[in-house]
Symmetry: C2
Subunit: 340 residues, 2 copies
């Protein structure tokens, strides 16, 4: 018998379709993965091709040369200059598209994705996120900052070179508003952050936990909309990503690397997205919201039912996905990382 499960925070229902159930490993797409070169002549993000990208905003050095670089997106979705002004015309609400659209180049080499990087390198990617996040949050025009990664064509990546993006917008998105409302409602009723409560409960039960580190918890979602959606929550209550501490950055780098390596080795380098879902800067101190990273492998297709109802049909039991990921062994020494 299939089961309907409700997401505790968003109140969204999903159908866990056991009649259509697949074993987790059945979802890995056997592909001819052609190995990427270390360097690609026309790649604007490869070391040596810096002039092909727009002028750098910042970088983090390692061994006397840049390891992480932040540049403006050449095909920006928003205009960096100008004032956001809301226009109300009859029933219509518009605003000029002012905002910030950065690219975070995650390394010098064309072929080293997070799963293959040393933890210390991943920590620098996270430090770049934090620096840009906190800098941009000071901009009075900006209401929300979204940091995300597209890995692979299905996930919307148009360039192969490992990179992530940051888009800062002059409005609060409806989705964030909604989650805020629901979390606030929970706090008003129970006097506790719904995410803190959830984390404690999940940790004591254990069946959906993938990784538990000193500061973070990576786990499958009880009401996961699609297979292998994994959230990484800080164990300490913290509404805003911008408040992450240095020891937490170091710990998170290990968790991110380990989780993405488990996906890489267990599901044959699947396309995926991740996004940091955080409170808007103006709400950094609230007791009822909790930032987290949502890692979303793109293993199945969104179809008419999902678009028509907003509900999802998930063909993998979240508990089976967690068990599968816990059991994936990541090779100790990785040639790519070693060869760096």
């Amino acid at each position: 018998m299939p089961e309907l499960r409700q997401n505790r925070v968003t109140k969204e229902w999903v159908i866990i379709a056991t009649e259509r159930a697949k074993r987790p490993e059945q979802l890995s797409v056997k592909r001819d993965i052609k190995p990427l070169p270390e360097y690609s002549e026309n790649c604007p993000f490869c070391a040596g091709n810096e002039a092909q990208a727009p002028p750098e905003i910042m970088h983090i050095d390692h061994d006397g040369r840049w390891q992480i670089r932040v540049v403006p997106n050449k095909f920006s979705a928003l205009a960096r200059e100008g004032e956001p002004t809301r226009k109300i015309e009859r029933s219509r609400r518009t605003m000029n598209g002012v905002g910030i659209h950065d690219v975070i180049v995650e390394g010098r080499q064309h072929n080293l994705t997070t799963a293959l990087l040393p933890e210390a390198h991943v920590a620098n990617i996270l430090r770049a996120y934090k620096m840009r996040y906190n800098e941009i949050s000071q901009d009075p025009r900006i209401q929300q900052v979204i940091i995300f990664k597209n890995h692979g064509g299905t996930a919307g990546a148009s360039l192969e070179h490992p990179h992530s993006q940051l888009i800062a917008i002059p409005v609060i998105s409806h989705q964030v508003r909604e989650r805020f409302h629901e979390a606030l409602r929970h706090y008003d009723e129970y006097g506790e952050c719904v995410f803190c409560e959830l984390n404690a409960e999940e940790l004591s039960e254990g069946s959906r936990i993938v990784i538990s580190s000193p500061h973070f918890l990576a786990m499958e979602q009880f009401a996961s909309p699609t297979p292998f959606v994994t959230h990484i929550y800080p164990k300490r209550h913290m509404a805003s990503f911008g408040d992450i501490r240095e020891e937490e950055v170091v710990d998170l780098a290990g968790v991110m690397k380990s989780l993405l390596a488990k996906l890489y080795h267990g599901l044959e380098n699947p396309d995926f997205n991740y996004a940091i879902r955080t409170a808007p800067a103006e709400n950094a101190g609230v007791k009822y919201y909790h930032w987290y990273i949502s890692v979303i492998p793109r293993l199945t297709k969104v179809a008419g039912f999902e678009l028509g109802s907003g509900m999802f049909i998930n063909v993998v039991l979240p508990e089976a996905a967690a068990e599968f990921l816990r059991n994936v062994k990541v090779p100790e020494s990785q040639p790519a990382a070693a060869g760096k």
Copy 2:
């Protein structure tokens, strides 16, 4: 300068990214479309292969043989028998997955999609929708009925033979609840159905209208999340699809056929979904909600920004999409339809 636009009903913002703008025709995917055969031996939906599908629920005849057939989905997402019981365990909400999952086989031939069918045939597809919708709405276990179509692999179709699906669920999805709330809020403030108001305004302005028939309006969305999302609204206020009248069915068949033929010929048979968004049966008579069909071509990819924020970046101006579709000429006599 890009523009942010707010969806009047859902309050969701989208970025219309003019800096990345594409002409509508640039989105058509040039593919080697191998023509489908009229009949496929292993297709459970082809005439002659009826025994390969589960036993029929209903059919509509034409010329003394079935033209439309409704069968249970062999890989049902929900169990047809049983009572939905809500289980509340600590913080968790679950329900056994009881519901109905039908397939509407849209014709006898393997290769005739809606864009190529005579209007009278399309009307029979809509009649099958209506009959099943009203029948299932009587089931006290069911709270919401979603009728949808997946056309092409990107849109989630796993079988080529033209078909649509119906999933009836024992809950109201969060998305529908949200839209209901917003529409009710609008009604409380303005004393008018937000969709009726929108339709009158769009009709008087005209720039986003694709087709205006006696009873329906097909138009691009002012704050369209992705390119070419087209909504078809009944001009008469009507909250539930189940209340559509016979003369409206006939008219809607013409609009559906014409719109899908414009997509087929203008954008080279793109993958698409459509879904009927309707009030739940128990709210059939409300003054503040309005059913419609959302047609969603799958021309671009959903990436990390969209998943992380719930906001979309649209690279085609909705007004340009409307103009493009208005100008697509659909060949008068279609060989496939003629050869039937």
